[in-house]
C-alpha cells in the first residue's frame, strides 16, 4: 500500500487573550532576563566560578585574624590578570581593648614603591609608634595598591567602618589620569563617576565577572599576541594619551577625584572616623617634562622648564619654583598630579570636621633646597626615596599627635633623627629600590640607559636584592638568608636589624620577638630587649621567655616587673631548678626598693640592695647602688667592700 502523508493537524481554536493575560505574559517576559541572570549567578556560585571581592577575608594562616582579600583589587581592573596585589597584614577579627587600629589607603607611593615592605611610610610610622609606646598595641594595615586611584579608595572606605578603625590615613591623587579607571585609560562614556561606580557594584556578581572575562579574552584574540606589542603600544601611547592642561579630559580627572574623595570623606565622617589625608608631592626640579607641546612657548612645558633652570642657576629661586611647577602643569603626560588635586584636597579637608590635611608638601619643601622639590626627597616623578618616606611618616605622625589620636603626654618619643637612624631598612631593601629604579628609568617614558655593570664580585646584599627584583626569591627568604649571613659573620647589630625588619612584616611572630630580644641583650640594649621579650611572652607564654625576661629585668634593677615572670617561670619550670629562693629574694628587693624610693639618702638601704643583687652575681645593678652609697658617704666601709666584690666578680 502506498503510504500517504499524514494530514496536517486541524488548526487549534485559540481563544483571544484577555487584556489581563496579555499584561501578565508581558510582565513575565520582562522578568525573564532577571530570572535567567539569577539562575546563572546561582549556578556560577555553585560551581565556584569567579571570586568573592569583599575587602577582608579570614586569614587561613592565623585563626581569629582577618586579612585583605587578594581578589579585592580585581573589581577595579577590567582584565583581572592586570590586577595588582597589596600587602597582606593580618589584624584581629575582634579588636582588643586599647589597640589603636589604623587603615592606610592609596596608591603606589602609599605602599612604598619601589621599596615596598618596610620602605613604606606606614612601616616607618609603625616602628616609631611601637618604639615610643612599647606597651600599646598598634594595628596599622596598609590597603594601598599600585595603579589604582580614588575609585578604589572610595570603594574600600565603604567597607571599613565595620572594622572599627581609630583613624584612616590617605595618600592618593597621582593616578586619576592613567591608573585603573583613570580618565586617560577609559573611553569617554566611562568617565562618569556614577556610571563607573554602578559597573563596579555589578562586578561583584559572578555573571558580570563572566561577561568581563569573555570580553577580555575576545579583546586578546582580536589584538593578537605580537611579540613587539609592548613597544608599539608605548609609541602609540605618547600620542594617544596626551592630556593638555585645562582640557576637557584634564578637568574630568579633577572632577572624578573631587567626586570620589568628597563621597569618601562623607562615608567616613558619617561614622565619625577621623581621616588624615596628605597633599601630594611631585618632582619639580629634577625631572624634565615627559611630553611638551610644540609651538606656543606659553603652553610649552619644556620652555617653562628651561626658564626655571635659568632662574635657578641665577639664584632667582622664587621665579624658578613657579616655572618648575608650571612646567609640571603643562606636561602633556599626566603622571604627576596637577596642583588642582592639592587644591581639591585642601577644600574638601576644610569642609569636613573629621578630616585633617597632612601637609606633606611643606615637610618636603622644608627639606629641599630653596623649597623646590627634587632628588633630595624623590626618586623620579612622584615616588619618594627612603628619606622622603621617612618625611611622609613624620608628617602623618605629627598630625596624629595634633588631633590627639596618639598622646605622648611628656613621655620620651623616638625623634625623627632617631627614627632615621634606627629604622630597620636593610641594605637589601635599599638596593632593591635602587635596582627597581634603574629598570624603570631604562624604559619609556624615561629612556635613560642603565649604568654599566661593575666588574667585581657581588656582595651578598647585592645578590639578594638582585634576586628580589627578578622575583627569584621572596622578601621573607631574602631576609632570612641575610640574617643567617650576619649571624655567621658574628654581627649581632646587623642580625638584629634584619630581625626587626622581619618583625615589622610579621608582628604576630613570637619567635622573632624572642630572637630580637636575645640579640638586644647581646648588644646591651636592655630596654629594647625587655620590650621584645615582653611582646614574645604576651604572644606565647613559655618558661624560656619568662626566664629571659626576669633575668634582663633584674639586670636593669626592675625587680617589681621581674616578679610576675619569675612566678610564671617557677610554676612552669621544666628543669626542676628551684626558683623559690630567687623569688623570695626578689620580693625582698621589691620591699627594700619601695622603702628606698621614700628615703634615697639612706645608705643602709642602698647597701642592702647592692648586697642583694650581688648575691645573685648581678654586678650591674649592684654597682648602681654601691655608687649611690658612695655618693652619700665616700668612705662607707660596707659599700667599699661590696665594690671590691663587684670588681673581683667582673675580673672572673
Amino acid at each position: 500500500m502506498k503510504k500517504t502523508a499524514a494530514p496536517p493537524p486541524p488548526p487549534v481554536d485559540r481563544k483571544p487573550r484577555s487584556q489581563k493575560q496579555l499584561r501578565l505574559f508581558k510582565g513575565i517576559a520582562l522578568l525573564l532576563p532577571f530570572l535567567f541572570l539569577a539562575l546563572l549567578e546561582g549556578a556560577l556560585r555553585l560551581f565556584g566560578y569567579g571570586h568573592d571581592l569583599r575587602l577582608f577575608v579570614e586569614d587561613s594562616q592565623h585563626p581569629g585574624f582577618l586579612v585583605m582579600n587578594q581578589f579585592a583589587s580585581q573589581k577595579y581592573f577590567t582584565e583581572t590578570a592586570n590586577a595588582t596585589f597589596g600587602n597582606f597584614e593580618p589584624f584581629r577579627k575582634h579588636k582588643a581593648d586599647g589597640t589603636l587600629r589604623i587603615f592606610v589607603l592609596g596608591e603606589s607611593t602609599t605602599i612604598g614603591y619601589p621599596y615596598m615592605h618596610n620602605g613604606s611610610f606606614h612601616r616607618w610610622l609603625q616602628y616609631r609608634l611601637t618604639r615610643t609606646f612599647p606597651e600599646k598595641e598598634f594595628e596599622i594595615i596598609n590597603l594601598a595598591l599600585t595603579a589604582v586611584n580614588s575609585y578604589t579608595v572610595f570603594g574600600f572606605a565603604q567597607e571599613l567602618a565595620a572594622y572599627q578603625p581609630d583613624a584612616v590615613l590617605v595618600y592618593t591623587g597621582h593616578n586619576e589620569y592613567y591608573g585603573a579607571l583613570g580618565v586617560g585609560s577609559t573611553s569617554s562614556i566611562a568617565r562618569s563617576p556614577k556610571l563607573v561606580r554602578f559597573v563596579l557594584r555589578l562586578r561583584e556578581y559572578r555573571v558580570m565577572q563572566l561577561i568581563g572575562n569573555v570580553v577580555a579574552s575576545l579583546k586578546r584574540t582580536v589584538s593578537g599576541q605580537s611579540p613587539d606589542l609592548r613597544e608599539n603600544l608605548m609609541k602609540r601611547m605618547a600620542a594617544d594619551q596626551q592630556i593638555p592642561y585645562q582640557s576637557a579630559v584634564y578637568q574630568q580627572g579633577i572632577d572624578q577625584f573631587a567626586t570620589n574623595m568628597n563621597d569618601f570623606f562623607q562615608v567616613l565622617s558619617e561614622q565619625n572616623i577621623p581621616v588624615f589625608i596628605s597633599n601630594l608631592v611631585s618632582n619639580e626640579k629634577d625631572l624634565k617634562p615627559f611630553v611638551s607641546a610644540s609651538g606656543n612657548p606659553a603652553r610649552s612645558a619644556q620652555a617653562h622648564y628651561q626658564l626655571a633652570k635659568t632662574n635657578y642657576a641665577s639664584g632667582r629661586f622664587k621665579e624658578a619654583k613657579q616655572a618648575y611647577v608650571q612646567a609640571k602643569e603643562l606636561d602633556l603626560l599626566r603622571f604627576r598630579a596637577p596642583e588642582a588635586m592639592n587644591q581639591t584636597i585642601q577644600a574638601l579637608a576644610n569642609r569636613y570636621p573629621h578630616v585633617t590635611l597632612v601637609d606633606t608638601k611643606a615637610y618636603f619643601a622644608q627639606h629641599s633646597p630653596h623649597g623646590i622639590l627634587g632628588q633630595e626627597t624623590l626618586l623620579e616623578h612622584v615616588h619618594p626615596n627612603l628619606f622622603g618616606y621617612a618625611l611622609l611618616s613624620d608628617a602623618f605622625y605629627e598630625s596624629l599627635k595634633k588631633r590627639r589620636i596618639i598622646t605622648t603626654d611628656g613621655r620620651p618619643e623616638l625623634s625623627f633623627a632617631q627614627l632615621r637612624q634606627q629604622m630597620p631598612i636593610t641594605d637589601v631593601d635599599s638596593l632593591q629600590g635602587a635596582y627597581e629604579m634603574m629598570i624603570l628609568r631604562e624604559g619609556w617614558p624615561f629612556n635613560e640607559p642603565m649604568p654599566p655593570e661593575e666588574k667585581r664580585p657581588k656582595t651578598i646584599e647585592e645578590q639578594l636584592a638582585g634576586g628580589l627584583v627578578v622575583k627569584q626569591i621572596s622578601w621573607h627568604d631574602a631576609m632570612n638568608q641575610l640574617a643567617a649571613h650576619y649571624a655567621n659573620a658574628n654581627n649581632p647589630a646587623k642580625t638584629l636589624q634584619v630581625t626587626e625588619a622581619l618583625l615589622l612584616e610579621y608582628p604576630h611572630d613570637a619567635g622573632l620577638y624572642t630572637q630580637a630580644g636575645k640579640l638586644a641583650v647581646t648588644l646591651d640594649r636592655n630596654d629594647q630587649a625587655v620590650t621584645y621579650l615582653k611582646k614574645a611572652f604576651q604572644l606565647e607564654n613559655s618558661f624560656e621567655r619568662a626566664q629571659q625576661l626576669f633575668i634582663t629585668l633584674l639586670k636593669q634593677d626592675r625587680p617589681d616587673e621581674a616578679l610576675p615572670y619569675l612566678q610564671y617561670a617557677s610554676s612552669h619550670n621544666p628543669s626542676g631548678f628551684n626558683l623559690n629562693e630567687l623569688q623570695s629574694f626578689v620580693k625582698q628587693l621589691v620591699r627594700i626598693k619601695q622603702q628606698y624610693s621614700k628615703d634615697t639618702t639612706n645608705v643602709d638601704l642602698s647597701n642592702q640592695l647592692a648586697a642583694g643583687y650581688l648575691k645573685f652575681a648581678n654586678a650591674r645593678a649592684a654597682t648602681k647602688y654601691v655608687q649611690k652609697t658612695l655618693r652619700q658617704d665616700r668612705q662607707n666601709p660596707i659599700a667599699l667592700k661590696l665594690n671590691q666584690q663587684i670588681q673581683s666578680l667582673k675580673n672572673q
Binding site: A180, V199, A216, S223, L440
Partner: protein, 49 residues
C-alpha cells in the same frame, strides 16, 4: 548590525517577542563592560605607579 537585523526578523517571524527583554538586558550588560574597559595601553603603564 547584520546580526541585530537577523535577530529582529527571527523574533518577528517566530513571534518570540518574549526574548526581547532578555536580549536587551544582556546587550546592555555587555556594552557596559566594553565601555568601561580600560584602554589596551593602560596595563603597560600600571608598572609606573
Amino acid at each position: 548590525m547584520e546580526f541585530l537585523k537577523d535577530f529582529w526578523l527571527f523574533v518577528r517571524e517566530r513571534k518570540r517577542y518574549w526574548l526581547l527583554p532578555l536580549f536587551v538586558v544582556l546587550l546592555l550588560l555587555g556594552l557596559l563592560t566594553v565601555f568601561t574597559t580600560g584602554s589596551a595601553l593602560a596595563p603597560f603603564i600600571y608598572s609606573l605607579f
